[in-house]
Each structure stands twice: as structure tokens, then as C-alpha cells.
Symmetry: C2
């Protein structure tokens, strides 16, 4: 997928991946990859950004002797998802505009 197109989608994808239950970096990547490709460096950048924006909170927990950072979605994060649904409507109208065929001179 076009990288510019991804820019608006990655954040909400990550939020969606932790919406139903807290998750951590490695798992988020696996859950999101079927829908959109993202690398580790990208993911962790996004997580930091979303944390700074108060859209998720972090908790460190031990698991199998190793530390994991579990991410939990906040109210603001949930609202971001709802906003995206609204934006989707705008995108739909854009899609129609872009994919509309020329119906210029009707009868050939």
C-alpha cells in the first residue's frame, strides 16, 4: 500500500489492536500485519506517539522472565477510533469523486 495512504491508517490500526484487550509490541505487529504492513521501528514510534497523546497507557509486566510493556487504550483512544469512523464517511465521498466515470456527452 502507498506509504502516504498508510499514514492516516496506522495509528487507528494500532488502537484497534488493543481495543478489546491489552497487548504488547510484538503481538500488535502480528495482529495488524494481515491488514497493513508495519515494522518494529514504525510500531514503537507509533506507540510512543499515542502514549504522548494520551490515547493509551502503559504498564510493564513480567512474562516468562522477560519484561513486556502492555498497552491499554484510554477514552481518548476510543474517541480517536470513533472520529476515524466519521472520517471514513468523508473518504467514501472522496472515493466516489475519484472513481467516478466521465458521463460527459451522454449519447455517443
Amino acid at each position: 500500500m502507498d506509504i502516504q495512504l498508510k499514514r492516516g491508517l496506522l495509528d487507528v490500526c494500532v488502537l484497534a489492536a488493543i481495543k478489546n484487550e491489552d497487548s504488547y509490541g510484538y503481538k500488535i505487529i502480528k495482529d495488524v500485519k494481515p491488514y497493513i504492513e508495519l515494522s518494529e521501528s514504525t510500531l514503537y514510534t507509533i506507540l510512543k506517539r499515542l502514549e504522548a497523546a494520551d490515547m493509551l497507557s502503559v504498564r510493564t509486566a513480567e512474562h516468562g522472565g522477560r519484561l513486556r510493556k502492555y498497552y491499554h487504550i484510554t477514552d481518548k483512544g476510543l474517541r480517536r477510533i470513533e472520529d476515524f469512523k466519521d472520517e471514513w464517511k468523508e473518504m467514501l465521498s472522496i472515493y466516489r469523486f475519484v472513481s467516478k466515470e466521465d458521463e460527459g456527452n451522454g449519447q455517443a
Copy 2:
């Protein structure tokens, strides 16, 4: 609309605006604005980029004593629109992933 989301849409919107007939800067802005907000500086940046990418060609013509630059879509530009339609399918699946409700514990 979220600025990151716009990034992937603006190029194709501009291409769509000249798809059916050649157009020029000021008119493109007016045609696209009902669907997505864009300023002059943004538009002319995009036009330059699309020209460099061979997605449109430019012709300067006089109109009412002033010069206008008319933009014409190329085959490559048309292909970009078709590619966008394919990407739309991916975006649809992403939308479903993001807006999917938790159906975790079925019967409450």
C-alpha cells in the same frame, strides 16, 4: 479531516479533478474543495510532484490576457487512479478491522 489521512488522498483527488478535462490551479482548488480542503501552496506543490512523476503534463496558454498553466493527465496518472481503486479494497478491510465491535463473550 486528519492531516495524515489527507496525505494519501490529495494526489488522486487532483488527478481526478483533471481526469475528464484539462484544468488549471485555481479551478482545481475549487473543484476539489467540496471533497477535501487544500490550500494553494499545497496544490502547487502537488502539481509539481505529479508533473515530475509523469502523471500529468503541462501546457501554458493565454486566457484573458493572463497566462494559465493547463494540466493534462497522462496514462501514468490514469493508472495511479486505478491503483487507488485497488488500494481502496485494502482500506475497506482495514476499516472493518478498526470499526469491528468486540463480540468477545457472546451471550451476556
